[in-house]
């Protein structure tokens, strides 16, 4: 992975920069010792590691603003970091950059049950928000699988999803307000407890911008009342095609389940070996369909889904009759990643999305790729929205296997785009998928996105080297070729 060449001139000023940052963030908030910086050298994508130049852990919005102002004035790059759980390298440090950790921003600032909102500092964990409101029966809907650890600020940066986003949306559909600090150190409030924006939807633009536009220092989310009832069906099918047809039929019948997950045979067996959830080992594909809502509704829809599953040839059909049973259905799915981790020294988790009906095609292609690269693959999907998580199994200690796994992963994502899908459904581009961006976007498309970045960060100091494969200077992107005096398109109808 090629990162921008570290700026020797900036590295030469390191001790001066450390002193200046210590004047802003006193005490232990500035870390310059190599051993103490080591924990920050990577995020959840551990294949890539870089020691940052300096780590700064501010405690106040004022300090964040001053740090950014200083870095902007002195041409120092900044990489923002929440809990460091990104699976795409979004918080991978830069050797000549400041790593700005927001872990100390860990307080809930306001709980407003009447307006159904929570305002939290960015370092509060995703689950921490639900924990703060569950005594009144409320919860925060987006639930990425790292929700115990991942921060709400990081969720905003990545537009995180989760198992329930088909019905309840992604982060972007569940936030109402942000406080942000621009790279120039300007503190701004976008949104609040009200809906929609008075002007451009800058909050929507910021969500999922992977730390390239601004630093989030406060988040207001909407909370929902917990559904009265939750029940799940565990469905086994001989083939993935039949499972896919069942998913299509469920949605075709007008049912949007709270969660709808699929696992292929290798994933079923890995999970079964690990947690003994009672999954059918011989099934070609397993579906977990969870329905949530008022009790009568859930019971009615469970029966409808049961009929649909039978009509689509299910060979295993179990319906949860208790919370314990429902949790048992989920146990294997939730343990799928560690379960695969047990059967292989290393694995790489991919994250493409396809139009759902292309599922058989992508699985066929993956089988061929698996043979070509000599590596195994296990699949878990968010079946309702076509988001795939192929897990490529490899051994990093075997020469060449990491490279083969990366090439295999890239081929899968290219196939996703070819089949009408996208490179990443919820993990972000980061550094991992950066160089694949031209598979999906033309140079013109990418240049426009970079121009938007320039509107926020004209010097390109916030998280450079992520998302965009080629860096351009803003002045160069702003240039416009205008040819005057051309005849206006004689073939366009006018009135």
């Amino acid at each position: 992975m090629q990162m921008p060449e570290p700026d020797q001139e900036v590295l030469g000023r390191r001790s001066e920069i450390v002193d200046a940052l210590r004047a802003i963030v006193p005490g232990e908030g500035v870390i310059a010792d190599e051993r103490e910086m080591r924990p920050y050298e990577s995020d959840g994508l551990t294949a890539y590691r870089t020691l940052p130049m300096i780590v700064v852990l501010p405690e106040t919005v004022g300090q964040v603003a001053e740090v950014l102002k200083y870095c902007h004035a002195n041409g120092v790059k900044v990489v923002p970091r929440g809990s460091g759980t990104s699976l795409s390298g979004g918080a991978l440090p830069l050797a000549d950059g400041v790593l700005l950790g927001l872990g100390k921003f860990n307080r809930i600032l306001d709980i407003d049950f009447d307006n159904r909102t929570v305002t939290a500092q960015p370092g509060v964990t995703n689950l921490g928000i639900t924990t703060a409101v569950q005594h009144e029966g409320f919860y925060y809907a987006p639930d990425p699988s790292s929700q115990i650890a991942c921060s709400i600020g990081g969720n905003v940066a990545e537009n995180s999803g989760g198992v329930h986003c088909l019905k309840y949306g992604l982060t972007t559909n569940n936030i109402l307000g942000l406080e942000i600090v621009t790279v120039e150190g300007e503190v701004m409030r976008l949104g609040g407890k009200h809906l929609d924006s008075e002007g451009y939807d800058l909050m929507g633009l910021l969500t999922g911008s992977e730390g390239l536009l601004a630093v989030v220092t406060e988040v207001t989310v909407r909370i929902l009342k917990k559904p009265a009832s939750l029940r799940a069906l565990l469905l086994g099918f001989p083939t993935s095609e039949q499972a896919g047809a069942c998913v299509a039929a469920i949605i075709g019948a007008g049912i949007i389940p709270g969660g709808m997950e699929m696992m292929d045979n290798p994933a079923i067996n890995a999970a079964e070996d690990f947690v003994h959830a009672g999954y059918p080992r011989d099934a070609g594909a397993l579906l977990i369909v969870e329905l949530d809502g008022p009790e009568v509704e859930v019971d009615t829809l469970i029966d409808r889904v049961r009929e649909i599953a039978e009509a689509n040839g299910s060979t295993t059909l179990r319906v949860s009759d208790s919370e314990d049973e429902r949790n048992a259905f989920w146990a294997g799915r939730k343990a799928a990643f560690p379960a695969v981790g047990r059967i292989s020294p290393d694995y790489m988790c991919m994250d493409g999305t396809i139009p759902r009906r292309q599922l058989p095609e992508i699985l066929t292609r993956m089988t061929k790729m698996s043979e070509k690269y000599g590596l195994r693959v296990a699949n878990v999907f968010h079946a309702g929205d076509g988001n795939l998580h192929p897990l490529i199994l490899f051994d990093a200690n075997q020469p060449g296997e990491l490279d083969r796994a990366e090439a295999f992963g890239a081929d899968i994502l290219k196939s996703c785009v070819e089949l009408g899908g996208v490179l990443t459904g919820e993990h972000g581009v980061g550094v991992e998928k950066r160089d694949l961006m031209p598979e999906m976007f033309s140079e013109t498309d990418l240049n426009q996105q970079m121009r938007v970045k320039c509107a926020w960060d004209p010097k390109g100091l916030l998280n450079p080297g992520k998302v965009f494969p080629v860096l351009h200077r803003c002045a160069e992107l702003g240039r416009m070729h205008v040819s005057r005096g051309q005849l206006p398109f004689p073939d366009i109808p006018r009135f």
Binding site: G204, P355, K433, V467
Partner: protein, 406 residues
């Protein structure tokens, strides 16, 4: 002699914009031209009419997506969705009801591009989001005369910046849309509305808050003061909508009726078409449509403070008419005609609590001097201007429509 260019292809749209750039001659961007009386009046030599790029290109009900050209009418799309028992969950309002035929074309004519470019929604906004929550991807011509695409045709996608959010609510000031892909959802089997009769406004927002905070999946909550009638429902009434499969609706209405007993007023129920008629009128702000010379504001605040905003405005503005939607967070307000449409009183009341007020209907001479869109703080306005410049550096697309700068 002003020209209206009506291209048939995205390439022709690009050529028209490129020409406007080279001539430094701004364009008014329209599709079905039903909302052109919103915002600062434009003074452009030429109009770019996108209605020629029309038609549903792809509708896959089982994938929950639809793709259409910008000029496709909402009516055509809604008819296609209805045939598959689906709908646009965000319930886009028809501003033609408020704006009237006048300069535009009245109700029932708006285009899908207009729905998204103006980020419309309806009473279901509080549960299912606005247009911005449903646009999955688009192709457009920027003010640089370049065809760009963003997003995709799948629901789950975080590849690159979410420019779909930016174009929603940009009122044609960033790019001319040439293609849109959006999310569709199943329509519910049935709907029922609970009517609580006679609550004062403070009690009404508490009742709406209790309903929205219940597990009964209430999809809309509105309150009508004494002088407002919608869908044949009048008097002081608080309305709570429940949608879904029939047995679920019956059970939830029963449970909700029990819980609302705590508010100590009479509760009645309207079903199916009567319920639909009420919410359609509220969606379109039909109760404020007449008399047509009254300016109309759309005010968005935190739900619990809606009545406080109205209470701050009423002593300063004689004879205003209003009602609440979005559980109190949306105030539709009609004020007597005046040179500034009471902008000072309205905006001061909103600024105290946080939120925004948009002037949806007013005479051109009012819109020329009053900001139709709520003024932003200096730094945010400056950032918005830089975002505008990143798409449209020469200011050729609807210049000045939203603010003097954008």
């Amino acid at each position: 002699m002003p020209d209206t260019f009506k291209p048939d292809t995205p390439e022709q749209v690009r050529d028209a914009v490129a020409w406007a750039v080279s001539e430094e001659s701004p364009l008014e961007i329209v599709t079905r031209a039903t909302k052109r009386t919103i915002g600062r009046p434009l003074q452009t030599a030429n109009t770019l009419d996108l209605s020629g790029l029309s038609g549903i290109g792809l509708y896959e009900a089982e994938e929950l997506i639809c793709q259409a050209g910008p000029g496709t009418t909402l009516a055509e799309i809604e008819a296609a969705l209805k045939a598959e028992n689906q709908r646009l969950a965000f319930e886009p309002m028809d501003l033609g009801v408020l704006l009237g035929p006048g300069d535009g074309r009245g109700e029932g004519h708006q285009s899908i591009a207009g729905v998204f470019a103006c980020n419309l929604a309806g009473p279901r906004r509080i549960k299912d989001g606005a247009a911005r929550d449903h646009l999955l991807g688009f192709t457009a011509v920027t003010g640089r005369g370049e065809i760009v695409k963003s997003g995709g045709r799948v629901v789950k996608n975080v590849t690159g910046y979410d420019l779909s959010k930016l174009v929603c609510g940009s009122w044609g000031t960033l790019a001319a849309l040439t293609d849109l892909t959006f999310k569709v959802l199943p329509a519910p089997e049935t709907e029922t509305t609970l009517l609580l009769h006679g609550l004062d406004e403070a009690a009404a927002v508490r009742a709406m808050s209790a309903a929205m905070g219940s597990a009964h999946d209430v999809s809309s909550a509105a309150h009508l003061p004494a002088d407002i009638t919608a869908g044949g429902v009048g008097g002081v009434v608080t309305a709570l909508r429940v949608e879904g499969i029939a047995p679920s609706v019956v059970a939830r209405v029963a449970a909700l009726t029990g819980e609302m007993a705590a508010f100590g007023v009479a509760v009645t129920v309207i079903e199916d078409t009567a319920s639909t008629a009420l919410w359609r009128d509220l969606r379109d702000a039909r109760p404020l449509a007449e008399p047509r010379d009254r300016p109309v504001w759309k005010i968005s605040v935190a739900p619990m403070v809606g009545p406080r905003v109205v209470a701050a405005i009423r002593p300063l503005v004689a004879e205003c008419a209003y009602f609440y939607d979005w559980a109190g967070g949306l105030v539709w307000l009609a004020v007597p005609p005046s040179a500034d449409a009471s902008a000072g009183a309205v905006r001061r009341a909103v600024d105290v609590v946080g939120g925004h007020a948009t002037l949806i209907r007013a005479a051109p001479e009012v819109r020329a001097v009053v900001d139709s869109f709520h003024p932003q703080s200096g730094p945010i306005a400056a950032l918005a201007k830089r975002v505008k410049d990143s798409f449209d550096p020469k200011g050729v697309l609807n210049p000045g429509r939203m603010t003097a700068g954008a």
